[in-house]
């Protein structure tokens, strides 16, 4: 028996309304041309978008906000539910966990936020222009890390339980709505939708080298390539800011020995500047290259988790229209 539960969309909506008493809930909501996580309130519950990728902001910002006071922040204890994260973002949490929950130095703030958040990912039933998760071995639906995987099909919400926290959530949900096991036929239906999308993503990305090859390609690329692709880079750092796995930060000091963490990016000038003004990444093309080495060569040597999940946000966000996939395709052969 698969761990699938389902309920009517309308029941789900009123359950969310009830859950708002105990949780801060975030979910993707559309506005004009974009879609992003918004705080859910009784008025916008019906506007939540399911199964369509992907929120503009990566999931990481719920755990590593752009700026946070590490010595005084106590929002970490707030119970949250995040609905609608695509699997690329969910998989992005793996590397964050490896770094921030590293047993030598557990980041207690990060940990509390992870512990106090219920993650309800949603299967992608559509794709966006630059989605290429499958190229890096990531499926467009979650089977781990998230607590629940959600699929919205024909007026029903299906919830596949993936974790202990997910089990508890279903129990809690049953207080507010009538929840039943999803019939086998409907599960089949969902799986069919999922595999169609898998196929489509693969098809859309033919010729794009996979994660086993990207490292070698980056190592072999010559300086001309880095100069060429970085020539339109303006060091805005958007690629790193919206990347679900980029987590470098600055520590800023405030009086009374307070520390503020602010997300940083190796694309910013001065990222590696040390006292005495020496800077190994002074040149823009070196900074540009650094990001590729970090993602495809160095971190893969050091960590188990993927450091690029194929979400394509960096391509969408780049104002210089730099497309990393063009680089990989150019150097594929």
């Amino acid at each position: 028996m698969k761990n699938y539960y389902s309920l009517l969309n309308s029941d789900w909506n009123s359950a969310i309304d009830q859950l708002l008493n105990d949780y801060l809930i975030y979910a993707p909501i559309k506005s004009n041309n974009s879609m992003d996580y918004e705080p859910v309130n009784p008025e916008n519950i019906s506007e939540i978008v399911y199964n369509i990728p992907k929120p503009t902001t990566p999931l990481k910002t719920f755990f590593l906000p752009v700026k946070e006071n590490l010595t005084t922040d106590n929002s970490t204890k707030i119970k949250r539910i995040i609905i609608g994260a695509p699997n690329c973002d969910i998989q992005g949490l793996k590397i964050l966990d490896e770094i921030y929950l590293d047993k030598d130095y557990i980041d207690s703030l990060y940990k509390q936020k992870r512990d106090n958040t219920i993650l309800i990912s949603s299967s992608c039933f559509e794709i966006q222009e630059h989605c290429h998760c499958m190229t890096y071995g990531i499926k467009p639906y979650s089977k781990e890390i998230a607590d629940i995987s959600l699929s919205h099909v024909d007026q029903r919400i299906h919830l596949e339980v993936l974790s202990e926290k997910g089990v508890k959530f279903i129990t809690e949900l049953k207080n507010y709505a009538s929840v039943s096991n999803s019939p086998e036929t409907e599960i089949k239906d969902i799986e069919l939708k999922q595999s169609k999308i898998e196929y489509q993503i693969i098809n859309d990305n033919i010729g794009l080298p996979d994660y086993n090859k990207t490292g070698k390609i980056v190592e072999k690329a010559n300086e001309e390539i880095w100069k060429k692709y970085s020539s339109k880079c303006v060091s805005c750092g958007a690629c790193a800011a919206i990347c679900p796995t980029c987590t470098c930060f600055l520590l800023i000091d405030k009086p009374n020995f307070e520390k503020v963490r602010q997300l940083d990016a190796c694309q910013y000038p001065g990222f590696e500047r040390v006292a005495g003004d020496e800077d190994a990444l002074y040149e823009l093309s070196k900074r540009f290259k650094n990001r590729y080495f970090c993602k495809y060569v160095w971190k893969p040597q050091k960590f188990k988790s993927l450091v690029c999940t194929g979400c394509g946000r960096c391509i969408e966000a780049c104002i210089g229209k730099i497309n990393k996939n063009d680089l990989f395709k150019e150097l594929a052969n």
């Binding site: 590490l70 010595t71 204890k77 770094i99 921030y100 590293d102 030598d104 130095y105 557990i106 980041d107 207690s108 703030l109 940990k111 509390q112 512990d115 987590t247 470098c248 930060f249 600055l250 520590l251 000091d253 405030k254 009086p255 009374n256 020995f257 520390k259 963490r261 940083d264 190796c266 990222f271 590696e272 500047r273 040390v274 006292a275 005495g276 003004d277 020496e278 190994a280 970090c294 060569v297 160095w298 971190k299 040597q301 050091k302």
Partner: protein, 274 residues
């Protein structure tokens, strides 16, 4: 609720004394308000309240548990502030971080130490540790270089070392004055003056990148193996925790995987001397 401590929060340390070592270098003697200990070669992050934080490897003995010393060259914003501080003020300490010197591996060996400039700071802590186990070592030779005789730090300590059995100190300066009667030239010239039983030795390098680079090259020429050379790397360390990403050097986080590495571990990493 997790009861993990907040890894970003410094403990307070009272500044007991500021010692002027040279026109640009001062030693800060501090007394941490909470228990604090470190192993030689590990580093700490020192906070000047509200101003900033910078990494230093303590220059004091790890065996001294009440007080901790750092020796600081005036190079930037934070260090400039520190140089204006006075006894009685409070600093913040986080750490200790990283992997220090594997002293047990030095047993039964000769230890050849090449140091330059402010690199003497971590070396002094190492020397204290080595002196404490000198019965287990064959001998310890320090080759130290600085720009001018004025900038040679820890003069009284050097005298003390010269009177310590099994310890030898050779010094050189780039620009001598009329009082200088030791070597002249860059630190690496001293390597040609020492007699070492290379097979039974380890070498330790700590100083400005350029000295480490040429020091390593010379040590290799002399016949040292890649894994007999210990390098104390400096990178833009910030969090000290293997998280902020600022200290990445190839696949290594210098703060956590180092700062002490063997040359063997680093030789395939690009631009380690930059």
């Amino acid at each position: 609720m997790s009861d993990n401590p907040n890894i970003y929060k410094p403990i307070r340390a009272k500044l007991l004394e500021v010692i002027t070592e040279s026109p640009t270098i001062k030693t800060f003697v501090m007394e941490p308000e909470e228990d604090f200990s470190f192993k030689t070669g590990e580093f700490i992050e020192l906070t000047v309240d509200g101003i900033g934080e910078a990494p230093f490897t303590p220059s004091s003995s790890p065996l001294e548990t009440k007080k901790i010393e750092v020796t600081v060259m005036k190079t930037g914003y934070v260090t400039e502030y520190m140089h204006n501080m006075k006894a009685g003020e409070t600093l913040g300490i986080r750490g200790p971080f990283g992997r220090g010197y594997p002293i047990e591996k030095f047993y039964d060996k000769e230890v050849l130490i090449l140091g330059g400039g402010c690199g003497f700071a971590p070396i002094r802590s190492l020397l204290y540790s080595l002196a404490a186990i000198s019965d287990k070592l064959r001998k310890v030779t320090l080759c130290y270089g600085s720009k001018t005789p004025d900038e040679c730090i820890y003069k009284p300590y050097v005298e003390q070392l010269r009177n310590t059995p099994k310890f030898e100190v050779l010094r050189t300066v780039d620009i001598p004055d009329e009082t200088w009667n030791e070597s002249v030239g860059v630190a690496t010239v001293l390597l040609d003056k020492v007699k070492v039983d290379i097979k039974n030795s380890v070498a330790v390098c700590c100083g400005p990148p350029i000295m480490m680079k040429f020091g390593t090259i010379r040590l290799l020429e002399l016949g040292f193996n890649d894994d007999q050379i210990y390098l104390s790397m400096e990178k833009n360390m910030s969090c000290g925790l293997g998280k902020c990403g600022h200290c990445m050097m190839g696949k290594y986080f210098v703060c956590k995987d180092g700062p002490v590495f063997t040359y063997d571990e680093l030789k395939n990493t690009p631009s380690i001397w930059e």
